[in-house]
């Protein structure tokens, strides 16, 4: 008898789970639709033309072409191994730090070749900030975590004000204003990640790149960071890598979907872009069946 009920319960749970997932996704899109949509800017921040990245000659992503628009949140989604992180690291030349990595093709930043001979990657990174997958605060006080960037870049102004502005901008000020001298490692993971965002906006960049910023965080912290992203996009352009499709649906304006391709003998794998469009279109009416399979959870 009992075993019977168990099986039934399992089946019920599975069904409920499935519909919850579907509801969650449709809810996420509904919420996104409710949010007052501004006229999205079509001013281009980045233009990628046939960008390929190789590690030791082996391709990691191939022939990526799309544009990133100003004051938009642009999401890169796709299965693991599709080169999302590799691609986002091209935007601020972090791939330069890996000696074996080579970037081919063209990335224009406000119309200028980001990989041109006159471009200093250090100068480029001042304008194009980055938040990493795992929160990586410096082993210093909260105050000095923020002050490091402006000080290093020789920014003028009252440092206390710069720190307060950055912490307010990252919705962290009220939580930490009484303990600015405490070590950042005493904060929760979500607070650490918002500290990293504050650190990033303290140097007043133009673009913020986020490489799976919520993958190490709990749902509540994730929600706070997503709310924060909406506020930040008024001031910055944001590119986010995420493996969480609901998150992409909730936060982004534009979505690029990448897949993994294998060569004939399955020795090499690389990422390729399938579709790039308005987020709403990608999640409700994608033009490529592979995108549809992925966003509805049939594969991946």
């Amino acid at each position: 008898m009992e075993r019977m009920t168990d099986e039934q319960r399992h089946a019920e749970q599975a069904a409920a789970h499935e519909s919850a997932a579907q509801r969650g996704l449709s809810q996420a899109i509904a919420v996104d639709a409710e949010r007052p949509k501004k006229d999205l800017s079509r001013e281009k921040v980045f233009e990628l033309k046939d960008v390929s990245v190789r590690y030791d000659g082996k391709p990691a992503v191939k022939e990526i072409t799309f544009d990133v628009f100003k004051h938009n949140i642009t999401a890169l989604i796709g299965p693991s191994g599709c080169g999302k992180s590799t691609l986002i690291r091209c935007f601020n030349r972090m791939n330069d730090l890996i000696p074996s990595a080579t970037v081919e093709g063209e990335i224009l930043y406000h119309g200028q070749d980001l990989y041109g001979p006159n471009v200093d990657p250090v100068q480029a990174r001042k304008l194009i900030g980055m938040v990493f997958q795992k929160p990586n605060p410096f082993p210093k006080s909260i105050y000095h975590n923020i002050a490091f960037g402006p000080r290093t870049l020789g920014m003028k102004g009252n440092m206390d004000e710069i720190v307060e502005k950055a912490l307010r901008g990252a919705a962290l000020w009220d939580e930490v204003k009484d303990r600015l001298g405490d070590n950042a490692y005493g904060m929760s993971g979500g607070q650490q990640q918002r500290l990293c965002i504050a650190r990033c906006i303290a140097v007043e960049p133009d673009v913020i790149l986020m490489d799976e910023p919520c993958s190490a965080l709990d749902p509540i912290s994730t929600g706070k960071i997503e709310d924060l992203m909406f506020e930040l996009k008024d001031e910055f352009s944001i590119v986010i890598v995420t493996h969480n499709m609901q998150q992409a649906a909730r936060v982004s304006d534009m979505t690029a979907f990448l897949i993994v391709e294998l060569d004939a003998d399955e020795q090499n794998r690389w990422g390729r872009i399938v579709e790039y469009d308005d987020t709403e279109k990608i999640f409700t009416n994608p033009s490529d069946p592979r995108t549809e399979d992925y966003v509805t959870g049939k594969v991946g």
Partner: protein
């Protein structure tokens, strides 16, 4: 357990059988294995006890023998041929000046080399691998070899500094440099790459990243390595005998000129004299040396535990 469906006789039998078999497999350790295990554990214990016994014998013997001479006068009285008034004043001063010079020389050289190898030198390049290998080798070179190098190149030869504290410092600095480099590299490597990425992503240059994030984060590890290396230099005798510290001195040493001696050398000297009083004095000197070394090592351990960063 109450919810279990009633068992038939057959299941009960099967369960009992399975249980018994499992017990037989996991619980019955062969008697031979038990004996082997016990014997092996006992042998390991003996190995530790022999090492500890050696240390204990040394300490007890030095303490019992040196006790009559153990007083603060040891630090203030000069070296003398009269054992009743002889002390270690010059030797202690000489040793302190020597290690002072070692610290000044070895910290910038050792940390600089470590930064190069960890942050700039790509392991792909054969010359960097060669440098690394040779630093490992240098750490294993006997100290008397450094003494001969010091005599040939620093005291005489190209540098021609004479038998001075300065020459002794350079020799000892060369001796402990590989240890400092290895320890500093270890400390720098312990700083996770995410910290460097975080700083670089803000638009800091490579040097700014190293200077303001990597070095401050690794400073306690580097300091620990330096203290341990310096305590090794403090106890070194063989190279100093060659570079001139063997002289019997009754006046305070100077850094750049004049004769000097060092604590371990003075202990060696007193120990080789025929009078029993000097042997006692030498035992007292050993206690002073050991106390200073233990204090330095304890400080290094304290420093490491106090400022150790949990990433």
């Amino acid at each position: 357990m109450n919810d279990d469906p009633p068992r038939t006789e057959r299941t009960r039998l099967a369960v009992a059988g399975a249980r018994a078999t499992t017990e037989a497999v996991i619980s019955g350790q062969p008697r031979k294995d038990v004996i082997k295990n016990t014997v092996f554990a006992a042998l390991l214990l003996v190995a530790i006890l022999i090492a500890l016994a050696g240390l204990a014998a040394l300490l007890i013997q030095a303490f019992v023998k040196g006790r009559p001479e153990l007083s603060l006068d040891l630090f203030t009285e000069s070296g003398s041929s009269d054992p009743t008034i002889a002390g270690f004043r010059q030797a202690i001063l000489g040793s302190l000046m020597l290690i002072g010079g070692v610290i000044v020389l070895v910290v910038p050289l050792g940390v600089g080399a470590a930064i190069y190898l960890e942050e700039y030198g790509s392991r792909e390049k054969w010359w960097n691998r060669l440098i690394e290998l040779n630093i490992q080798n240098l750490a294993a070179v006997p100290s008397i070899i450094y003494g001969i190098l010091g005599l040939g190149f620093i005291v005489r030869g190209p540098l021609d500094l004479g038998f001075t504290v300065f020459a002794g410092s350079i020799t000892l600095a060369l001796l402990v440099l590989p240890i400092v480099i290895i320890a500093a590299r270890e400390a720098i490597r312990a700083v996770p790459p995410s910290i460097r990425e975080g700083a670089l992503a803000l638009g800091a240059t490579k040097w700014q990243t190293i200077r303001r994030q990597v070095l401050p984060a690794s400073i306690s590890g580097i300091a620990t390595g330096v203290i341990l290396a310096v305590s090794r230099a403090f106890g070194e005798t063989a190279p100093l005998l060659l570079v001139g510290a063997a002289t019997f001195v009754t006046f305070d040493p100077q850094f750049f000129s004049g004769d000097y001696t060092a604590l371990p050398v003075q202990i060696f000297q007193y120990a080789t004299r025929p009078q029993d009083e000097f042997r006692i004095l030498s035992a007292a000197g050993i206690i002073v040396l050991l106390v200073i070394l233990l204090a330095m090592n304890s400080f290094a351990i304290w420093l490491r535990n106090r400022y150790e960063q949990k990433w």
